[in-house]
Symmetry: D2
Subunit: 145 residues, 4 copies
């Protein structure tokens, strides 16, 4: 389930024919690419371009990915990829995802990906402040009172 206490980005697009397989449905590996584009979109709508992050000398390398397939999607179906920050640490971040049918809101695929910040020499690094602040805003505040 998508959380209700933080920012969730949404990008909507049509399934491409090339993304289907001989079962007539979207191949399960393609959702990993939808997840990736969803986090690209996430940073884009938050005002921070991942391409700039890379150019500044870093990568958010993928350490782990998980997907759960609830229902198939098909060619030309309009779907929405929802993406949020599940957890932000000093050197890494975990994103959560939901792929839903745009019209009905039905959840088709859910997933998570864990990332580690490395520099271009491959060393694990602290996420730079400007990038962490973009992501940090999404972490839920402790309850007031």
């Amino acid at each position: 389930m998508a959380p209700t206490d933080r920012y969730i980005s949404e990008n909507t697009f049509f399934v491409r024919y090339a993304e289907t397989d001989a079962m007539g449905i979207v191949h399960h590996s393609v959702y990993i690419i939808y997840f990736e584009e969803a986090r690209s979109h996430y940073s884009r709508v938050r005002g921070a371009d991942y391409a700039d992050f890379e150019r500044s000398g870093y990568w958010l390398t993928v350490a782990e990915v998980h997907a759960r397939y609830h229902a198939p999607t098909r060619y030309a179906q309009q779907i929405t990829a929802r993406c949020w920050v599940e957890e932000l640490k000093s050197r890494g971040v975990t994103f959560g995802y939901e792929i839903v049918d745009t019209a009905s809101g039905k959840v088709h695929v859910t997933g998570q990906s864990k990332h580690v910040c490395i520099d271009h020499q491959g060393r694990v690094s602290r996420i730079p402040d400007w990038w962490a602040s973009v992501l940090a805003a999404d972490i839920p505040k402790p309850p007031q009172g």
Copy 2:
């Protein structure tokens, strides 16, 4: 060059990270997929869904494809795929394509694809009238006078 005498569809999207290769640019095979999505979009904006065409018992199988690479595109670049009907015959159709940078209009890749209409038993077939009429409107009229 895109023709000026017929309908041209345009769909705009961002290059996905997964579409790049170790040269740091979009892999040349990916444009073949952009072409395909461009012709999906073409029929969509013309009011005819290719998925319906398939469900009616036909396929526009790909007989030939050609791409010419003028300039590379990169991750997160916003590009527009332009698509038009180059030639319509009773049993086949040729589409033309241009992949341009959305902001500058610079042409990055051009191409064509030739298709043959077959039924689900694999027999070459006449393009059904309802589908041909969608495409036929795009063929230039002979000059008046």
Copy 3:
């Protein structure tokens, strides 16, 4: 870690250029495809072709996939995909995977995928006996004593 008590299939191949991304390494979604080809190979070397399984009226649909990335792989690297049955149930099966460098044996990626047997009408089904027997042979025998 790959188990030592059951059959493990191995298929060896070279990383394709198209499988790399702008980080200069194999894109993380590609390993999901390596996993799939590894289980195709698994059934092939066990004498049962997954294509025949499909033709007999069933699919092993993917319910869940997980990958953990230990080290990147690169273009032209020769790698070996190891695959085994982690768990066999009446209506489903879980495969385990290891992607290793062929020369050094170093483990680059590990993963699992969970599958549910469905018929071509989409109904969850018992795995047919001939197919289950292929997979069952891999389940470890209880210790003698």
Copy 4:
């Protein structure tokens, strides 16, 4: 038709499930990747690794690609990709391809790709001698007499 007067490399492999589409056949864009792997294999069997070529400061960028689809291929089909040098120039090379069914030899897809040698600053360059000599051996000698 593959030429009979020069070296032709052959690499044999199985079609992966992920390479199929909802028509139940290999997606037409995938052959562009088979072509690429065929030329990787070509240089490999000729004793020159394209990865080394890249590391030496060059790329053979793709200027043009063409494919003609004669017959579909399907999941788990064993196919052979044949590759040869069609034309070698000082700054570029054209490769030819044939994708055939391994068992029957039936030709399924044919194609060509044109490449331009550039350095890592993007400047068109002469193909270095060591690399040209690898390719030059394949160009037919003029008839004696």
